[in-house]
């Protein structure tokens, strides 16, 4: 037993000294002002913003990146012993799931009200910080404008067999999109539609892989958020984007009765269909974790994310929609009023249902 003790002791000592030795920048001890952030957003996008936050607030942040879903699960698993203060999510519905599971902390900060109610939890425990529309991007060399899909139903057409790329179901925005379809069409119809689309679709690991594959011409169409089109286009690829399920203005003859009782026929523009499905407009969001360390620093981050400066940063770095009232998108992003968006509240989208129909449909 002496040997065992000695050996185990040496081993632990070896691990212990090796673990304790590194320079402060490598393994930071958790000071009260260090903010631990889990982020499901691409690091290259969020890191510049967080660095700006560090510089302006003097608060140090530590980031663990991964998939939004996995990190949300980790927050649930750590409820007894929370490690993170904040989750930065690709989408709003995942945050709402965490809120309904009691993993988030209410944040009644009036300053957050610069973000419209639709993109914010009623108790302020999560807020949307930037908006993204769910679109179809295409390669201009492979698809003629006239052949473009105009609706999600068009994506189910066998002519697209093997020509559509989608990201894996690890991408929360894809899952939210499916969840929105479940909400809009009902589970059965959404399942049938997605199953047909899946037959035409190849799964690539991430949205970045999808945009690159469409950009170089491996696939004709890609299921992405709008800014992936802008990022690929900025690199010089021959890509375009379609906001699907929009109302079109058609000219119709309408009989009108004039004030004098005479009936005449006039030509008017009419929106068809009257209630289009619209594209899902989702919000990358920030959640406040219940019981996480550095709560006040976490609140400071949430407030900073809604500031004009941060909102502009997301818009300019990544072609996203600022969500703060009154800020228009920049860099040639189509302004929101010009788009028919899905009439479904982000809070009502069930991402778990979305994941289930995607998996049953054959998305990976």
């Amino acid at each position: 037993m002496a040997v065992a003790g000695a050996l185990a002791g040496t081993a632990l000592a070896a691990i212990g000294t090796a673990g304790a030795a590194p320079a402060p920048s490598q393994v930071r001890t958790q000071h009260a002002d260090t903010l631990v952030i889990y982020t499901g957003r691409r690091e290259s996008l969020i890191a510049p913003a967080l660095r700006a936050f560090e510089a302006e607030s003097g608060i140090r942040v530590q980031v663990k990146s991964g998939s939004t879903g996995a990190l949300a699960q980790q927050i649930l698993a750590e409820r007894g012993n929370p490690q993170a203060s904040v989750l930065i999510s690709q989408d709003a519905p995942t945050c709402e799931v965490l809120r309904t599971q009691g993993a988030l902390q209410a944040n009644p900060d009036r300053a957050l009200e610069v973000i419209p109610d639709a993109y914010r939890a009623p108790d302020g425990s999560w807020i949307g910080v930037s908006g993204r529309a769910r679109v179809v991007m295409y390669n201009r060399n492979l698809v003629r404008r006239a052949d473009l899909p105009q609706t999600v139903q068009d994506l189910a057409n066998p002519r697209w067999r093997g020509r559509i790329a989608a990201p894996s179901t690890r991408e929360a925005s894809l899952v939210s999109w499916a969840g929105a379809l479940v909400r809009q069409l009902g589970r059965e119809r959404a399942q049938a539609l997605l199953t047909q689309i899946a037959r035409n679709t190849t799964t690539l690991p991430s949205h970045t892989d999808v945009r690159k594959a469409v950009g170089r011409g491996e696939f004709a169409l890609g299921l992405v958020n709008h800014y992936y089109y802008h990022l690929e286009s900025a690199e010089g690829s021959p890509v375009g984007l379609v906001y699907t399920d929009q109302a079109r203005t058609v000219r119709v003859r309408v009989r009108v009765t004039g004030p004098n009782g005479r009936v005449r026929t006039v030509i008017r523009g009419r929106q068809v269909p009257a209630k289009p499905l619209g594209v899902l407009f989702n919000a990358a969001s920030v959640c406040l974790v219940k019981g996480g360390p550095a709560q006040s620093e976490a609140r400071a981050l949430m407030a900073w994310m809604t500031s004009g400066r941060a909102q502009q940063l997301f818009a300019e770095l990544n072609y996203e929609y600022p969500l703060r009232r009154g800020l228009p998108p920049t860099n040639g992003v189509k302004p929101l009023p010009a788009i028919d968006t899905a009439q479904v509240a982000l809070r009502d989208i069930d991402p778990v249902a979305g994941l289930e129909v995607l998996e049953a449909a054959g998305f990976r």
């Binding site: 002496a2 290259s44 879903g69 991430s206 170089r216 011409g217 770095l317 994941l355």
Partner: protein, 523 residues
Amino acid sequence: MSARRPPLALLAAVTLVAAVMAAPLAWVVRDAFADDLAGWRRAWGDRLVRLLADTLLLTGLVTVAAVVLGVVTAVLVVRTDLPFRRAAYWALALPLAVPPFVSAIAYADLFSPAGPVDRLTGYDGFLGLEGSTVVLALGLFPYVFLIAGAALQVASPDREEAARSLGLRPIAVLWRVTLPGIRAALGAGALLVAFHVLAEFGTPQLMRYQTFTTAIFDQLVSLRLDLAAASALSCVLVAVAAVLIAMEWRLRGRGRDAAATRPAAPLRLGAWRWPALGLVALVWATAAGLPVGWLVWQSLRGPEPAGFGGLSLTTGPGLPELAGNSLLVGVASAAACAVLALPVAVLAARHRGRAALALSGLSQAGYALPGVVVALALIGLVAGPLSALAGSVLLLVVGLSIRYLPEAVQATRGAVARVPPEVEEAARSLGHRPLSAFLRTTLPLAAGGVLVGALLVLLSVIRELPATMLLRPPGFDTLAVRVWVDSSEGLYRAAAPAGLVLVGICAVCLVVVLRRRKGVSAL
């Protein structure tokens, strides 16, 4: 090998190590069978049979390809008059310093449909099974090359000469006498390759091919983190690995010829010398030249273009910090493994009996535990009994030590077995207590093997990707993680310098290991 019953203290120490090593396995099995087999049903729903078939197909193809490549190159370098044999040896061993996932990034970038090679030549059939097979076979064949080369060097030439004197042509001698003579080594090499394929995450992921390991990873990063289904998949994967281990144990006992007293006369290649050298050059170019060249090219393209407002898109800590983190985890794991491997190696090398065999077998559970499975178990353990480890680097070190302890045990056992037990007995007869006698005699004499074991662990840990991704604490990036994350966002220029440093550190470890072992029997 003494038949002596092992001392109680040694048995206790090994039992302790075995318990730690087997804990993740036990936890995964527990998770898989808890909850009314629901995990199995969901895993079954996830196309279990198809996954098993795809995984075994890839494993089989890569193993065959790697064995063919490894044996052909080993024969050329060890048994023929190939020009520049010394350079050829290093050219064929060093691809081991390039982790397959790094090669896969380069190959996927160049050979994707509609990618550069397709545009130039119209060849677009690279991804999927073919791509995974090519990249993994090129990345893993050096194991076979080194092991088969070592066996060829020490195999006695007597029987070959007898066969030749009886009129067999040189090729027939090779095929019918030489290769059967080293079949134990070939089997060991093949199984090592197969283990690596089973555990490989990055390559199939990039090549859009699904295996058990990628499917388990998917379960772990999905919104519905399904520990039960992931555990069920892990059980199947571990079972496959266990079958391979059993095969290796059977092979290990066989086929040991008397050691060579003199080198075999080299086969004359004649006019084939230069084509043979060309083949070696081609293998080197595809296994190491292309990926490293791609890394250099991407590094030389300068930083990523800045985003709007001149903000840099490249994010992580600088190279020194990344390399420091990689080395920190690597050295800590190597040190832990070196110490923990000692009692296991002594037990395995010096003692027989069922208890000894079972304990040393359990201590090497890591062989059957791919990184994702270790990570899965530790994630479960941290959510429960081990919550004190949450968010610390120690968790990562524990996981990787469990995963790679067998490498340290193998190297240490060989070294301990070469030390005659009489030396230690003499020390004891002079009044030293058993531990003191061991520390003063056997340990110093076996120190070379211990060091080699530690270096092998260091090398493996620095190359490891999936467990590191899953277990690292917030804010803790290593070279491998940085390469993976940046390249998966398409930021190749940011990923490449970290990739070069990673390959460089691995190459240094490898050179030290191979030099110490006179080039051969390290693996």
